[in-house]
């Protein structure tokens, strides 16, 4: 804690002073507050001063400009031949061809050849064999269980829905991975391209899902192919990032070995660099798959059929039991995909000697499994199409269980919810709503400057200025309030939990495993328990945000505490520290930079979740973005998306820089 004090010593007034002064003006200057009809310009950003285009409140009409650009791209014919939209739709049609194929294999069949889709027994068997190959029986069991659940509970068509979603993923994931890989390689080989790509990736990765969806609706349309395209755009940045990191981190010696062997440029790339960076690249593929799954669920909003679509309808109808069943399916698929792709990333080539069967046991097993399955399918129709009579559904029981659960907890939950609203959330919201934009700009600028970088200060000030001038200042502040409230709660839960978990090896393992599992769930899923417990209110939104985004808080706390060098701990114990002193005087100060990074991640997660929580009716930026979605207002969607991204990037720049400076002071990095 002393570290924080030293960093801010004597700077407190400089950083908070102007902000408080501007904030206090509301008690002195008339017309200063939001409640007055024409609030003071220094308090709420004034409305359009550039000719005023009507619909938009921003004093710089970014939204109109963007919409004009979109119109131009839609209408203007390049070389008089085709418009940009024709171009994107053309690409979409190509994607559609792949999609037709995977859909045919997984659930539609090839009617023109009178071939049905792949029978379920094949899918389960092949998944199990793949699991064995990649890691062993546990993974095989997980894969088997997942698909067994899907087929067993398919009374309401969960199997078909899952196959639809998987068909979409099996097109979008390879595409996204390929694009990410190529961009990553290009960035490593061409410095100038890297300078362009990094900031783009930063912005792309902090844009909310819905901004992509709106643009895709405009340029591609709706339906499955639109969903796939949106997913590809959403999922490629982590791949590009990990490719760049992987290629840059190859040891210099390995590259030199390649050069000395006389490799040409292409040989270098394909025979040395990519194989040597295999693990990070494969982890990139893992990330791509998980992002695809998350986005495929959300793409339901633009008519992507599949699990997400049905989940959305059930949630809208508050049919929670059915929603829960689908939710479990999504979660199982998520865990399975994650574990399989992780196993693939960590898979080391194995040495096998002997005859062909001994050298390729899994290939042979696959071959025999296909033969046996084919015979089974041929002889028994049961194996071809799982009979509907044998499917089950627990939705009725689940509905009842959820009802009786919430009924019995209705009073205490209601009291908790109201208490939270009245004593924590409402006052906090009032504070955030009353922040003058000029003050906030000065505030972030002061922090940036104090962290020692003029450039940093200017960047973050520009970010905040963009938000203020775009006309969504008050909404952005409400978003910020939700994020901040969640961050506080996450810290209150996450840090103690992290401390507890870091005490013993077994606890650490347990907690990190749970974190792993929770992190694989598509964010949309977290709305389910939130609605179940708190109906529709700020509390349920914040509840959903908190479960989703406390994961990094816990993870980084554990990481920071466990990575305190052993010799320092030993030195402290021999100096006579008690357990408590060891924690507060030694471990926490050293882990603090990591905890700050955890807070930064939590903030990013929270921002994403806030946008999704707009689905249950909050009045911040997410509501506006949902409106933009229903009116296909691309300009608005993009500008709001950028507002969200800039909130995230402002916090990210400042927190990461702060953490780095602390690490430097502690001598962890130079």
């Amino acid at each position: 804690m002393n570290k924080i004090k030293t960093i801010f010593k004597g700077k407190f007034l400089f950083i908070f002073g102007p902000f408080f002064l501007l904030w206090l003006l509301r008690y002195i200057v008339p017309n200063y507050t939001i409640s007055s009809k024409t609030p003071h310009w220094a308090y709420i950003p004034p409305k359009s001063c550039l000719g005023g285009c009507g619909s938009i409140d921003g004093f710089i009409p970014f939204v109109d400009w963007t919409n004009a650009l979109i119109q131009f791209l839609r209408k203007y014919e390049i070389f008089g031949l085709f418009t940009f939209r024709d171009f994107t739709r053309g690409i979409a049609n190509y994607v559609d061809k792949f999609l037709d194929f995977t859909e045919a294999v997984l659930h539609k069949g090839f009617p023109s050849y009178e071939i049905g889709p792949l029978p379920w027994i094949f899918i389960i068997t092949l998944t199990v064999i793949l699991g064995f190959y990649l890691r062993g029986w546990r993974l095989a069991l997980l894969g088997g269980t997942c698909f067994a659940y899907l087929i067993l509970f398919s009374k309401r068509g969960i199997w078909e829905l899952s196959m639809k979603s998987l068909a979409a993923i099996s097109v979008s994931a390879p595409l996204a991975a390929l694009i990410g890989l190529c961009l990553g390689i290009l960035a490593v080989k061409r410095k100038r391209f890297a300078n362009f790509l990094w900031p783009m990736l930063n912005i792309l990765q902090s844009l909310p899902h819905f901004s992509y969806l709106i643009l895709v609706v405009i340029f591609v349309g709706i339906g499955t192919k639109a969903g796939v395209i949106a997913t590809v755009i959403f999922a490629f940045p982590p791949m590009a990032r990990l490719t760049i990191l992987g290629l840059q981190n190859i040891s210099q010696e390995i590259k030199e070995a390649g050069v000395m062997a006389g490799c040409t440029k292409w040989q270098m790339l394909f025979k040395v660099e990519i194989p040597a960076a295999r693990s990070p690249i494969m982890l990139g593929i893992n990330q791509v798959i998980m992002q695809c799954l998350a986005m495929i669920v959300i793409a339901a909003f633009i008519g992507q059929p599949g699990l997400g679509h049905d989940l959305l309808i059930r949630l809208q109808g508050l049919r929670l039991g059915e929603a829960f069943e689908i939710g479990v399916a999504v979660v199982l698929i998520a865990i399975t995909l994650d574990r399989y792709s992780q196993a693939l990333a960590l898979k080391e080539p194995e040495r096998r000697e002997g005859n062909f069967v001994k050298r390729n046991p899994y290939l042979c097993a696959t071959f025999f499994a296909i033969i046996i399955c084919s015979i089974l399918v041929f002889l028994f129709p049961f194996f071809n199409e799982y009979p509907k009579e044998l499917t089950v559904s627990a939705s009725v029981y689940l509905d009842n269980a959820i009802k009786s659960f919430t009924r019995s907890l209705f009073v205490p939950l209601g009291i908790f919810r109201d208490w939270m609203l009245i004593y924590f959330l409402m006052p906090l919201k009032a504070v955030f709503q009353s922040m003058p934009w000029t003050g906030v700009i000065l505030f972030v600028g002061a922090i940036g400057w104090k962290l020692g970088k003029m450039r940093l200060a200017l960047t973050v000030m520009l970010f905040v200025f963009f938000i203020a001038s775009s006309g969504y200042w008050v909404r952005a502040m409400i978003t910020l309030y939700m994020v901040f409230a969640s961050l506080v709660i996450c810290a209150l839960i996450g840090i103690p939990l992290g401390i507890w978990a870091s005490k013993k090896e077994s606890r650490t393992k347990l907690v990190l495993n749970i974190c792993d599992i929770f992190q694989t769930f598509p964010s949309f899923i977290y709305l389910l328990p939130a609605i179940m417990l708190f109906q529709i209110s700020d509390v349920s939104a914040i509840f959903a945000i908190v479960i989703y985004s406390s994961i990094p808080m816990i993870r980084y706390t554990v990481f920071g505490l466990r990575n305190v060098p052993q010799h320092i701990i030993e030195a402290s114990i021999t100096s006579g520290c008690t357990e408590r002193q060891l924690l507060w005087k030694v471990k926490m100060p050293l882990a603090f930079p990591e905890i700050i990074l955890g807070a930064n991640q939590t903030l990013m997660f929270a921002l994403f979740m806030v946008m999704i929580a707009g689905f249950i009716g909050t009045v911040d930026l997410s509501q506006e973005i949902f409106r933009a979605l229903s009116f296909s207002d691309g300009g608005k969607g993009l500008i709001i998306g950028l507002c969200v991204a800039f909130i995230g990037l402002t916090a990210d720049r400042l927190l990461v820089e702060w953490s780095n400076q602390m690490k430097k002071k502690l001598g962890f990095i130079n």
Partner: protein, 342 residues
């Protein structure tokens, strides 16, 4: 004499900093230490000139940061020197096109790395065959050749292993095999044994000497370990802060150190390991005694027998000609004298 020189480096400079070429030119290609420091340039190699003779083992020796690895990389043009010239078999390497460089590396150079630099996704066989593979040699041929070299370094039976399944010493054997696969003329070794345990290191040094006895390559060997340098070298170049301080045979370094820095280095070296009969004998006494020793014999080996016997030993050269004598007096002087260098 010229055809005996394999690699010739003259006035090699490698500076790190902003626009080092311009800075070098402005300072007449010879900036002083102060000039470098005040302009914030980091000199890795300064004005290094050295020739590598065909068939010799040249050891470049220096502490970490002395520029020895950088100099080696300039010789193979892994790094572009800021200034200077490198001739490989009379060909100007720095003016060679990428294509020519690839050809030279594919056929004439082999390099061994400190941390082995094996490709983790390839088996031992595939690693060793890698330089042949990139040349486009067909699979059967290259695997036969790879097996040959693997046998040479004593890794027979491990062809299908992956690097992670091997110990450090075995991994470096793979590294040696890979660098030898194309049958290069010049063999670069960059601290090849530094990452190994002392015992294994000794074993690998012997292995290296055994290979060199068979293959007779031209070798540039980098090390920070003076003992290693003495064991292996025909000639040693000592580097300090980017400068080559002295080049000479091990004996020369000990008996006539050029600077205090070199003397400091050689001070703790047991002289018996290094000096041979020729360098300590009594030159005036050319009588033929009953016992003889070869002039190249190290003192370490002959000290005890000379000390045990009463009389003197004759020192003879390769042609059995007596060129001097050794008595107890010379041996004791060689072993215990503090200031041999006048």
């Amino acid at each position: 004499m010229d055809d005996q020189i394999k690699i010739s480096c003259s006035n090699i400079w490698k500076l790190y900093g902003e626009n080092p070429e311009k800075f070098l030119k402005e300072n007449n290609n010879n900036p002083s230490t102060e000039q470098l420091k005040s302009n914030k340039y980091i000199p890795a190699v300064r004005d290094a000139s050295i020739d590598v003779k065909t068939g010799e083992i040249l050891v470049i020796m220096g502490l970490s940061g002395s520029g020895k690895s950088t100099l080696l990389r300039c010789m193979s043009k892994l790094i572009q020197p800021t200034d200077g010239q490198v001739f490989f078999e009379g060909k100007d390497l720095l003016k060679a096109s990428d294509k020519e460089l690839i050809e030279i590396r594919r056929h004439k150079m082999g390099m061994v790395f400190q941390h082995f630099a094996l490709l983790p996704h390839r088996t031992v066989l595939q690693n060793v065959a890698f330089p042949l593979e990139v040349q486009g040699i067909e699979p059967i041929k290259r695997e036969d050749r790879a097996k040959e070299v693997i046998k040479l370094v004593g890794l027979e039976g491990r062809e299908k292993y992956y690097p992670r399944e091997l110990s450090g010493g075995q991994q470096q054997r793979v590294g040696l095999a890979r660098s030898l696969a194309v049958g290069p003329d010049v063999w670069f070794l960059d601290e090849p044994f530094s990452a190994l345990d002392p015992l294994i290191r000794k074993e690998m040094q012997n292995e290296f000497l055994r290979l060199q006895n068979m293959l007779k390559k031209t070798i540039v060997f980098i090390t920070h370990d003076f003992d290693e340098a003495i064991r292996l070298a025909d000639r040693i170049a000592i580097m300090y802060e980017g400068l080559i301080v002295q080049v000479g045979t091990p004996e020369e370094l000990i008996t006539k150190p050029a600077t205090d820095y070199v003397a400091e280095f050689t001070k703790d070296i047991p002289r018996s390991k290094l000096l041979n009969a020729e360098s300590v004998m009594n030159n005036d006494d050319k009588k033929l005694y009953d016992n003889t020793v070869n002039c190249k014999e190290k003192i370490e080996k002959i000290a005890s027998k000379v000390l045990k016997s009463e009389g003197s030993y004759s020192v003879i050269d390769e042609n059995k000609k007596v060129i001097g004598s050794l008595s107890k007096k010379e041996i004791i002087k060689a072993l215990f004298a503090e200031d041999k260098n006048e």
